[in-house]
């Protein structure tokens, strides 16, 4: 395969891991993070330590990256998840920036110049296999009582509590899953590019990921996948317009929120069962409208 095409596929696959996690957090649980690049950074550096310094295999580095980012997310979550939404946003923003600043000052790991000569362990196959596993596990999680509880938290936190949902616990689970996947993505990124710098994991990266989730549609795994495919591959193909890429992103976010808050396919899934469900909802809605109309006419007589 063409090395260029392969590169695009690998990058898309890496992004997909991080987007998938953020989809759980933002799309399904309704929490908004400005700091997920921070979790990617933790994963990238933990992964680098395991492969470069400790000489362990790539698989171990990936697992360690996920565990490291996940562990930090538990700490952050304990401190901030009980707070109101805005405070959580600002806290994640602070977290992401703090991680970057700490890495900048961490001489042992290369400081601001970064860390290079990481083993080039990423292949198109290991990315795609990990992607497939992650998609299946996340999908299964979301389509269970646990996933439904997350959605309940997003839809109406107070009502979720009154329905016996431990809101804090489910927010924590969502944060952990998203952080672990971001950590993995970070480690993949490092071992694909063979170098990492703190600058790679700035706020622009965090918002990039969130935009993909929104673009694909909140509350839809297939939307997030579709969003990743479109928004990672397209800019690579239209490199000439790279300057305008983010202008378009920003505008698209506003237009989506104002005009089509469900994004491409928010709240729906492109699976046979998902499509049947949409059809059922449509039928039910039109039946309801017809009944209402009939009742109205009956009332006039």
């Amino acid at each position: 395969m063409d090395a260029y095409i392969q590169g695009i596929i690998i990058l898309t696959g890496i992004n997909l891991l991080a987007v998938l996690g953020l989809s759980v957090l933002t799309g399904f649980t309704g929490l908004f993070s400005f700091g997920h690049a921070g979790f990617m950074a933790i994963g990238a550096y933990v992964g680098a330590i395991f492969s470069s310094k400790l000489g362990l295999p790539f698989a171990a580095a990936i697992v360690a990256a996920a565990a490291g980012a996940g562990a930090v997310s538990v700490l952050i979550g304990r401190l901030t998840l009980k707070l109101k939404g805005d405070y959580f946003c600002i806290a994640t923003l602070g977290f992401g920036e703090a991680i970057r600043l700490i890495l900048n000052n961490w001489k042992w790991a290369g400081g601001a110049r970064g860390w290079d000569n990481l083993p080039a362990s990423v292949t198109i196959w290991n990315v795609l296999i990990v992607d497939a596993i992650a998609v299946v596990l996340v999908w299964n999680l979301l389509n269970s009582r646990h996933g439904r509880n997350m959605v309940a938290v997003r839809e109406e936190e107070l009502a979720a509590q009154m329905a016996g949902v431990n809101v804090f616990r489910y927010k924590m689970i969502a944060l952990f899953v998203s952080a672990a996947l971001a950590g993995m993505a970070g480690a993949f990124m490092g071992h694909y590019m063979t170098y990492i710098t703190p600058k790679l994991f700035n706020m622009v990266k965090s918002t990039d990921l969130t935009i993909i989730v929104i673009f694909g549609g909140l509350g839809s795994v297939s939307g997030s996948i579709l969003g990743t495919l479109l928004l990672t591959a397209l800019p690579e193909i239209f490199r000439a317009f790279s300057q305008w890429r983010l202008v378009f992103y920003g505008l698209a976010v506003i237009v989506i929120m104002v005009g089509r808050p469900q994004g491409l396919i928010g709240g729906m899934e492109l699976t046979p069962a998902g499509i049947r469900k949409i059809a059922a909802e449509r039928r039910a809605k039109s039946a309801l409208a017809a009944a209402a109309k009939a009742a109205e006419q009956g009332g006039e007589e």
Binding site: A152, E155, A159, M162, G164, A284
Partner: protein
């Protein structure tokens, strides 16, 4: 009949203001009790205290003999107290079925790993949950609206769906916050019958806040009247209706303010 809910000396202060002041009453097991009073009397605040949304300032709440004032809301719900809201709070973008299915979750025990790997218990319990959600929708007359997004349901049915969702947890005590708000006399009549039916079919106790006097007087066996956060009267519908203090409070006399 013994009491399922015992409220003793319950007080809630917001800053200097006492929204609920030294209120004591019981909800009898298997009974339908009413909580009435003019606007701002502290009725919804009591619901919020019982369900753990607000922290109690002073006093105690015991549910089935067990103190619950310090429990987290979700634990109180799991222990068997569920509620509806004055301003309906459904999971708006989910179908009626998914609203109920979500609330059925306490009926399943499978863990995170079991759901991710779809182990046998996941399939078994998921099937049971779905059957239960469908059964509940059937009992509550919502089966034909199963797939309608909650947001698109007419107002009366949204209220009914909210009650269905509350029932999904298998509560022992159901708190209804103005279930008849915005309903016409016909719908209120239907609702009265429904509340009685729920009590009998699900063998639970009900505490209802309502402004519709017909509904309260028609369905409640026991009524507690609040005014300005204090108890004004407590007794059977007949006693309460004839209590001069209650009449006064509802006619808006200044005396009401002095009574506590």
């Amino acid at each position: 009949m013994s009491a399922i809910l015992e409220i003793r000396g319950l007080t809630k202060r917001f800053g200097g203001l006492a929204a609920v002041n030294d209120v004591s009453f019981d909800v009898r097991e298997g009974g339908i009790s009413g909580l009435i009073g003019p606007n701002g009397a502290g009725k919804t605040t009591i619901f919020n205290l019982v369900t753990g949304v607000y922290k109690v300032t002073a006093g105690s709440i015991a549910f089935a003999g067990r103190p619950i004032a310090d429990l987290e809301p979700y634990k109180i719900a799991a222990a068997g107290i569920t509620r509806t809201f004055q301003n309906i709070r459904l999971f708006k973008n989910l179908s009626a079925f998914d609203n109920v299915l979500t609330a059925c979750h306490t009926g399943a025990k499978y863990g995170l790993a079991e759901s991710m790997l779809r182990l046998p218990r996941y399939w078994r319990e998921e099937k049971a949950l779905r059957a239960k959600a469908d059964e509940l929708l059937g009992i509550m007359g919502l089966a034909d609206r199963r797939d309608v997004t909650a947001n698109n349901l007419p107002y009366g049915l949204q209220r009914r769906l909210e009650i269905t969702r509350a029932l999904a947890l298998g509560p022992k005590l159901l708190l209804l916050d103005e279930p008849a708000a915005g309903m016409n006399p016909d719908e209120t009549e239907q609702l009265m019958r429904l509340i009685g039916k729920i009590r009998d079919d699900f063998r639970l106790s009900v505490l209802v806040i309502e402004h519709h006097m017909d509904l309260i007087m028609g369905v409640c066996e026991h009524i507690h009247v609040l005014n300005f956060g204090c108890t004004l009267a407590d007794g059977s519908p007949g006693d309460v209706a004839n209590d001069p203090k209650v009449v006064e409070a509802y006619l808006g006399s200044e005396e009401g303010k002095k009574s506590c």
